[in-house]
């Protein structure tokens, strides 16, 4: 052993044998310590960084809502994390593949079409980047694995760019800035909060529930709760930036408990003006460009314009479920949180969209059959939205329990 000894230059001897055995074991203290330090760092740093809830002057719910309304943030850039757990059947890639595939074909086959792409937001966790500079220039990017999908609104142009397939979608927005705003899909906490606050009326309780830190900024927490029973919505919590009044985080928890159904929040936010080049877009060489066919009348399709009470709050699931279909003749039954939207699909019992019979049959297998005075139908339930499709083609959907839907269908008979 001696000639090959380590730098410890151990000499032979029985005592040394024992000691070296102990020393051998002692060396493993180093990697173990490294692991320990790493684990402690991973565990402790977030705890230390979380310096507790900030001290902010007291504010009433009314004042806070006014603050949100007055908030006029024109310029910002940031990263938004959006998690949706609607309790849709977990089909992984198959689901979005089917939906966006069906949609893509219906709309002319571009994977860069915004409506097709945004259905992906209806499930799972996604990271988005947003940038805005005034009403004319906005950008929203959906970060994917080694790819990105961007919607860029710059003046009159609305571009959708899917880097994975190198496809471009081009539409034009009309001149009015409000219209341009409508083109933007609801993706930021602000969009969600605005829709939630539209629903505030006497069926709702609104309170301020302390303060919190979101994306490194001090914020108030606004909690919106339905007073009626029968709704699937438990509570909506909105974190509002104390300085700018901009909603930074939006969380919707279901009445049934469990994880949040929708959780949208900034992880980073910066209110400085984004670089002008952010909003420049020229289709890359060789990219397939799809022009929006009905440019100009696309307000019909724009997600923002179909919002009304009741309809507003179920927007996201709706995009996933009946999307691609005109929402003509939609009526609302009931009021407040128990509003139920109803419309006639015109004969077919199961929403088949533009996808044909195969998808129809497939969808059928996902629902539960129900019977009532109205006849029979299929209920598609998620953690938030329940929809009843009767066999004669009527659809009832809302943020209400199954029983409430059947009752509404009975009443409508």
């Amino acid at each position: 052993m001696a000639p090959y000894a380590s730098d410890d230059s151990t000499t032979a001897g029985e005592v040394d044998e024992q000691r070296s055995g102990r020393r051998k074991a002692a060396r493993y203290v180093v990697p173990v310590t490294v692991i320990g330090v790493a684990a402690a760092t991973i565990g402790l740093v977030p705890a230390l960084a979380d310096s507790g809830d900030p001290d902010l002057p007291k504010i009433t719910a009314q004042q806070l809502i006014e603050k949100i309304a007055e908030s006029d943030v024109q310029q910002l850039s940031g990263t938004v994390k959006i998690s949706t757990d609607l309790g849709l059947p977990n089909l992984g890639g198959l689901e979005s593949g089917l939906l966006s595939g069906a949609a893509g074909q219906g709309e002319g086959g571009s994977s860069a079409d915004p409506t097709a792409k945004l259905t992906e937001l209806a499930s799972g966790t996604h990271t988005l980047r947003v940038a805005a500079d005034g009403p004319d220039r906005q950008k929203l990017s959906l970060l994917e694995n080694a790819a990105e999908y961007s919607i860029i609104h710059n003046g009159k142009d609305v571009w959708g760019y899917d880097s994975k397939s190198n496809e471009v979608y081009h539409g034009t927005s009309s001149k009015s800035p409000e219209h341009g705003k409508d083109q933007q899909p609801p993706a930021t906490p602000k969009d969600f909060a605005e829709e939630a606050l539209k629903a505030v009326d006497d069926t709702t309780s609104v309170t301020v529930d302390g303060t919190a830190q979101v994306a490194g900024r001090d914020a108030y927490k606004l909690v919106v709760k339905p007073k009626q029973s029968g709704s699937t919505v438990g509570a909506i919590s909105v974190a509002v930036d104390a300085k700018t009044g901009m909603p930074l985080k939006f969380t919707l928890t279901p009445a049934s408990g469990g994880a949040a159904v929708i959780d949208v929040g900034f992880t980073k936010v910066d209110f400085a003006k984004p670089a002008a080049s952010t909003f420049d877009f020229t289709p890359p060489k060789g990219a397939k460009v799809t022009e929006d066919k009905d440019a100009g009348k696309d307000s019909e399709k724009a997600p923002g314009t179909t919002f009304d009470k009741g309809g507003a709050r179920e927007h996201v699931p709706k995009a996933g479920e009946d999307f691609g279909k005109g929402l003509d003749g939609m009526k609302t039954i009931g009021e407040g949180w128990n509003a139920i939207a109803t419309f006639d699909t015109g004969g077919e019992g199961v929403p088949s969209g533009g996808a044909g019979g195969d998808l129809g049959g497939f969808m059928d297998s996902l629902g539960d059959k129900v019977h009532g005075e109205f006849g029979s139908g299929t209920v598609f339930s998620t953690r938030l939205v329940n929809a009843l499709v009767t066999d004669d083609g009527k659809v009832y959907a809302g943020l209400v329990t199954k029983d409430a839907l059947v009752k509404a269908a009975d009443a409508g008979k």
Binding site: Y4, V30, P31, A146, A147, S150, S163
Partner: protein
């Protein structure tokens, strides 16, 4: 220090100039040890074959894309399948660099690293040269550090081989020019080249975790083949585990979990979150398995 002069490692390439002052001799010795290791590693047919395989991947991808798009259609299935960036290659050859790295990173590159790292100590023990190396006054710790440095250099070399081969093939077969980032903004070709270099560095850095793991395995056994097989086996196991959704709580700690984050360098602005997580994770693996390798090797009975 007197042993230093006796201990020219036999049969390991040309060695240093002898008569020098003690101080410079020591520093030269350190440099020489590393240089010798590098020379021995990069002169092996095995290493050269590995690098040749790596260089061939971009050639194959490039030719396949060229043939497939010869009739003007776009690469990849319509929905954008295949390795990342593949649909953009026909428009800009620089994207072949990114595609080639995305295609080799999950398996070819770490496998090559696993072979070299697994061989580092166990291979010497296997061929009976380890005892001669240890006769040198370098000390075991420094020998291990030199071995690790060699593997890390190999990580960088292997990545650059893929990148340079891809750039050459891309320039030969496809047009070059300004490129569009995946966020849709335009950057100049020079900046694109800069990003490509950064990406190559990020990919090389992604491999230092595997390198440390391989080195640790290498100190555990006296058989080079066993060490290589174990390292590559671990690599495959971790990649499979990373795909199992039920393990999502553990996955952020798998060394391969953030590998594809190098693509974030092609966003505008660059999205650093996952890149920093990846670098931190690789540093953690290097520290844990590096020190474990040291603990094992410094106290090991060397019998071969």
């Amino acid at each position: 220090m007197s042993r230093a002069d006796l201990s020219a490692p036999q049969g390991r390439g040309e060695l240093r100039d002898r008569p020098q002052t003690a101080r410079t001799r020591r520093t030269t010795f350190r440099a020489t040890l590393l240089r010798n290791e590098l020379l021995t590693t990069f002169r092996r047919w095995r290493t050269l074959a590995l690098l040749a395989v790596l260089a061939a991947v971009p050639v194959l991808v490039g030719i396949a894309v060229k043939i497939e798009t010869g009739d003007g259609s776009s690469a990849g299935p319509g929905g954008g399948g295949g390795p990342a960036f593949i649909s953009q290659i026909t428009n800009n050859g620089l994207f072949l660099v990114f595609t080639a790295l995305a295609a080799t990173l999950p398996f070819f590159l770490p496998m090559a690293i696993g072979v070299v790292a697994g061989d580092a100590i166990a291979g010497e023990a296997n061929s009976g040269t380890l005892r001669y190396l240890l006769v040198a006054p370098a000390g075991r710790s420094r020998l291990l550090l030199t071995k690790y440095a060699t593997v890390v250099v190999f990580c960088l070399a292997a990545t650059l081989v893929v990148a340079v081969s891809a750039l050459t093939v891309g320039a030969l077969l496809f047009p070059l020019g300004d490129l569009t980032t995946i966020s849709g903004t335009q950057i100049s070709f020079a900046e694109g080249l800069g990003r490509a270099l950064l990406i190559a560095l990020a990919v090389a850095a992604s491999l230092i975790g595997v390198a440390a793991l391989g080195l640790f395995v290498s100190t555990m056994t006296g058989s080079g083949i066993a060490a290589m097989a174990t390292t590559v086996g671990l690599l495959i196991t971790v990649q499979i585990l990373d795909q199992i959704p039920q393990l999502h709580a553990l996955q952020p700690y798998f060394f391969s979990h953030y590998w594809l984050s190098f693509a974030d360098l092609m966003r505008e602005p660059v999205y650093w979150d996952d890149l920093t997580k990846n670098l931190g994770l690789q540093a953690l693996y290097a520290a844990v398995f590096g020190s474990a390798a040291w603990a094992r090797f410094a106290a090991k009975d060397v019998t071969a």
